[in-house]
């Protein structure tokens, strides 16, 4: 929506094709990735592989959509990877049954209750981030960095560093079906991808057709002007972190369902993948620019690229270099696109600028091999 206006200001003529290639760069990058890897490996271009890759992309995409909301307001959420891990552990914990010592009974909540409780946990974690940032004026980078450690630590504490392995449930206890999210498919498409699609549709409606979406963009560009126009700036700020937390929790559910196990280290450094996906999708880290469609493309680019590198057997070190290169290139092109426009008057903390994103390289590769293996 915000990008469509940019085209009209550029000179018309035979630059049209170039401009189209440029504006759709994430899309063409994805096509290029698919073509290149398909020629390099016969395995790559197969339905099975696409299904596997999309279920990885679903995790990245869910995190990235939450991250998009936060980045649009000019913030950053570094805690999503840890929130994902904590949510998985909580889900695993609930699936094992909750013992209530006073009565000497063990409660086995049904799967739908586990899902709701876990999503609520994500909301609480995100809500705390949001309140710290909006009301206590803690810089987003610092608040969510702190939460990154707190949530990860809490996940470790809950399991003593071990992994919950029995998530299948028991028909006698009426809590089966947890693996449905990760393993089953509808119309040949994994459920996790449907979840991503649902969240993306909601996100798109939210951003394009509701006052809330307009407010998110306005705050990211000029919070002062938004406030004087009657936008409830602080409430919107809290809500974007809250929604990001919920997205991370859903991603945590999907991931632990895919693996039918919940480890406290799941999702380590996934926050960087999410940020990278948002940036590759054309969003500005300074806020106010970005879209759901672009972010989804970004998630596909990252997911298809890293899986492709694993499939053709490129060494782990080269995987890091390639992924990092793609991210830097994306940021470079974004700054070409936004060059010459008025910058925001309030600066964002330098630490949340592209420098941090490059770290995603490491995170991306490590965590990827964990999922694949």
């Amino acid at each position: 929506m915000t990008q469509s206006t940019s085209a009209s200001t550029r000179p018309h003529g035979n630059f049209d094709l170039l401009r189209m290639l440029f504006n759709g760069r994430a899309f063409f990058a994805l096509i290029a990735i698919i073509i290149i890897f398909s020629t390099l490996s016969p395995v790559y271009f197969s339905t099975n592989n696409f299904l596997t890759m999309s279920s990885h992309v679903a995790i990245y995409g869910l995190l990235a959509l939450g991250m998009l909301l936060v980045i649009l307001t000019g913030g950053i959420d570094l805690s999503v990877g840890s929130t994902l891990g904590l949510s998985g552990v909580i889900a695993g914990f609930l699936m094992q049954g909750v013992g209530i010592h006073a009565f000497g009974v063990t409660l086995y909540p049904p799967v739908w209750a586990v899902v709701i409780l876990t999503a609520m946990l994500g909301a609480v974690v995100g809500g705390i981030n949001g309140v710290l940032i909006a009301y206590f004026r803690v810089p987003a980078f610092v608040a969510t960095l702190g939460m990154l450690y707190v949530a990860r630590g809490a996940a470790m504490l809950m399991t003593n560093g071990l992994t919950f392995n029995t998530l299948e449930g028991d028909p006698e206890l009426g809590n089966t079906g947890f693996d449905w999210l990760g393993f089953n498919g509808l119309l040949g498409v994994p459920v996790s991808v449907w979840v991503l699609i649902a969240v993306a549709v909601i996100g798109m409606l939210l951003l394009r057709r509701t006052p809330y979406g307009r407010w998110v963009y306005a705050i990211g560009c000029n919070a002062r002007a938004a406030e004087l126009s009657g936008v409830p700036v602080k409430r919107v700020q809290v809500s974007v972190y809250l929604l990001s937390g919920v997205c991370a929790a859903i991603a945590g559910l999907v991931l632990s369902s895919q693996l039918t196990s919940a480890g406290p280290t799941a999702g380590t450094t996934y926050e960087m993948i999410a940020i990278a996906a948002v940036v590759i999708g054309g969003a500005a880290l300074s806020g106010g620019r970005g879209s759901v469609g672009g972010t989804l493309l970004g998630a596909f680019v990252i997911g298809f690229l890293s899986d492709g590198l694993v499939i053709i057997g490129v060494s782990a070190y080269w995987q890091m270099v390639f992924t990092g290169g793609v991210i830097i290139l994306a940021v470079l092109l974004n700054s070409v696109q936004y060059r010459g426009r008025k910058k925001r008057s309030t600066a964002i903390p330098p630490s949340s600028k592209p420098g941090g994103v490059v770290d995603a390289v490491t995170g991306n590769r490590n965590s990827k091999s964990a999922v694949v293996s």
Binding site: S8, A225, A226, S229, G230, V231, G288
Partner: protein
């Protein structure tokens, strides 16, 4: 070059633009313009919003490059690749929109990019000394170590002027340098201009305050729709000549609408106080009480620092009050947030449109509808047709000249950006509207229109209007009542029959200024 400058006759042309044109896509901002700058004299550029004044000045100072045409400096063709390039050749510009770094102090802003090097890094002491010297001429109350974000808009404008003066250029372009200054500060600036002229500096001046510009200028040039339509020497023209050439007819800022009865008290400010965070025991707004009735138009006049902006921001909910109450139609709204106050029908058009008014990444239309977005939301979703209706209404109402609702905010001329901010707040259908310097940067035609709009709202819908201004002339237009502020208190109140002299005397200005 310097030799030439010193011995040149006074009526020599230093910088001139020949057949200069500039297009942005298919917007032809300038169509073959010729423009001369005379050595040691002031040339003033007049023209409506969007006439192309800023565009021409940006070309002459290297900020943008012309699509065609040539520029000659001291008779020789030149082309500037950037504003730094132009600055090196002795041309500097004060931009219409402030370009200061708010998180840095005054000294660092003045010397940004041209830091004075010392033995060990930057020579801060020398910078501070020079900054102090520059500021002493302009506004003694600003300290070089003050943070820019803590300064009022007018003071920021003075920093912008000081920065341009610190370059000691031979040609100085001032694009609406006084839009946020009141008469006294303008007087000070004019003294500085007179001194620069004696030193042989050539000046280009742009202002929508026509009388003020006439006072200082030697040559007058009128631009209209990207064409130069008239030129004359100061001695040959008067105010009427400018207005006729600018808009083609006489103009009138209106008079107070009289054929309607005032309604009940719409806005009641009781004993309102805002303490000064910097000086204990001092108040920016000092236990002030003021009532505005439905259908009434009240003008707030005061010097810079009189507390106008603070009063209006406090009433709108932007600044917390330390004491006192604000009642809207008898209902206490002191505890409400800004958005709740807007819902209750109280809106503020802020003074600084860049900082407080506009969302740069959104289009003209999205900016216009931002404050009234709830009005066209049904079942959580916004309705496109209703939004288009609201936007088209607003564009028509305040007559915004733009390439349609989808144009980027940055492509509008300064005055049209101001109209977007006003249009956005009026689109919420308020009962009480507060406007902080609504005429800042808009041309006489637009000014008259804004005032007509307010007068019409007051007469037909019972809108209560409270606007501030630093131009005395505007107090005498549509206001039923003029309230003069000084040091956060009401110094005097006048009816519509007040004279300029009375207002200025009450505000504490010397009438001569």
């Amino acid at each position: 070059m310097s030799e030439l400058t010193q011995h040149a006759p006074t009526d020599e042309i230093v910088l001139s633009a020949k057949d200069v044109a500039k297009s942005f896509g298919n917007v032809h901002a300038l169509k073959t313009v010729n423009f001369d700058i005379h050595r040691g004299q002031v040339t003033t550029l007049f023209g409506e919003n969007g006439a192309g004044k800023s565009t021409l000045m940006k070309i002459l100072s290297g900020v943008i490059q012309p699509t065609s045409g040539e520029i000659t400096l001291n008779g020789e063709p030149v082309s500037f690749s950037s504003s730094v390039d132009a600055q090196r050749m002795g041309i500097s510009i004060i931009h219409q929109e402030l370009s200061l770094a708010p998180n840095m102090n005054v000294r660092d802003n003045i010397f940004m990019g041209r830091e004075i090097k010392g033995a060990s890094g930057i020579n801060y002491a020398e910078e501070a000394r020079q900054a102090q010297k520059l500021l002493a001429d302009l506004d003694g109350s600003i300290d070089p170590l003050d943070m820019v974000e803590d300064l009022r808009l007018g003071q920021q404008q003075i920093i912008e002027i000081a920065r341009a003066l610190s370059v000691e250029s031979r040609i100085l372009i001032m694009d609406e340098p006084t839009s946020a200054l009141s008469a006294t500060e303008v007087g000070v600036l004019f003294d500085v201009i007179a001194r620069l002229k004696r030193q042989g500096v050539s000046i280009v001046y742009i202002s929508h305050h026509l009388e003020e510009a006439l006072e200082v200028t030697d040559h007058a040039v009128v631009l209209r729709d990207g064409l130069m339509t008239a030129y004359a020497k100061r001695a040959d023209i008067d105010l009427e000549w400018i207005v006729r050439n600018m808009v083609g007819e006489g103009f009138d800022l209106g008079s107070p609408p009289v054929d309607h009865e005032f309604g009940a008290v719409a806005l009641n400010i009781e004993n309102l106080s805002v303490a000064d965070a910097k000086v204990a025991g001092r108040f920016l707004v000092d236990h002030l009480s003021l009532q505005v009735r439905a259908g009434e138009i009240v003008c707030l006049y005061g010097l810079m620092g009189a507390g106008r902006t603070e009063l209006l921001e406090c009433v709108a909910g932007r600044l917390p009050a330390d004491d006192g109450k604000v009642l809207l139609g008898g209902k206490d709204i002191s505890r409400l947030t800004i958005s709740e106050r807007i819902e209750q029908g109280l809106v503020l058009v802020p003074e600084d449109r860049q900082r407080d008014g506009l969302v740069q990444t959104q289009s003209v239309g999205q900016n216009l509808s931002l404050a009234s977005i709830k009005d066209f939301t049904r079942w959580l979703l916004t309705s496109r047709p209703r939004e288009t209706e609201v936007i088209d209404n607003a564009i028509g109402q305040v007559r915004i000249k733009a390439g349609g609702a989808h144009a980027e905010i940055g492509s509008l001329s300064g005055g049209n950006q101001q109209k977007v901010v006003i249009g956005k707040m009026l689109a919420t259908q308020p009962r009480v509207v507060l406007l902080d310097e609504p005429s800042r940067g808009i041309d006489i035609g637009a000014k008259a229109e804004v005032f007509r709009l307010l007068a019409q709202g007051a007469a037909q819908k019972g809108l209560a209007v409270l606007f501030s201004t630093s131009e005395v002339g505007e107090c005498l237009s549509i206001a039923h009542r003029v309230v003069v502020l000084s040091k956060g208190r009401i110094k005097a109140e006048f009816g519509a029959d007040v004279t300029k002299e009375e207002i200025m005397a009450a505000s504490g200005e010397s009438v001569a200024a």
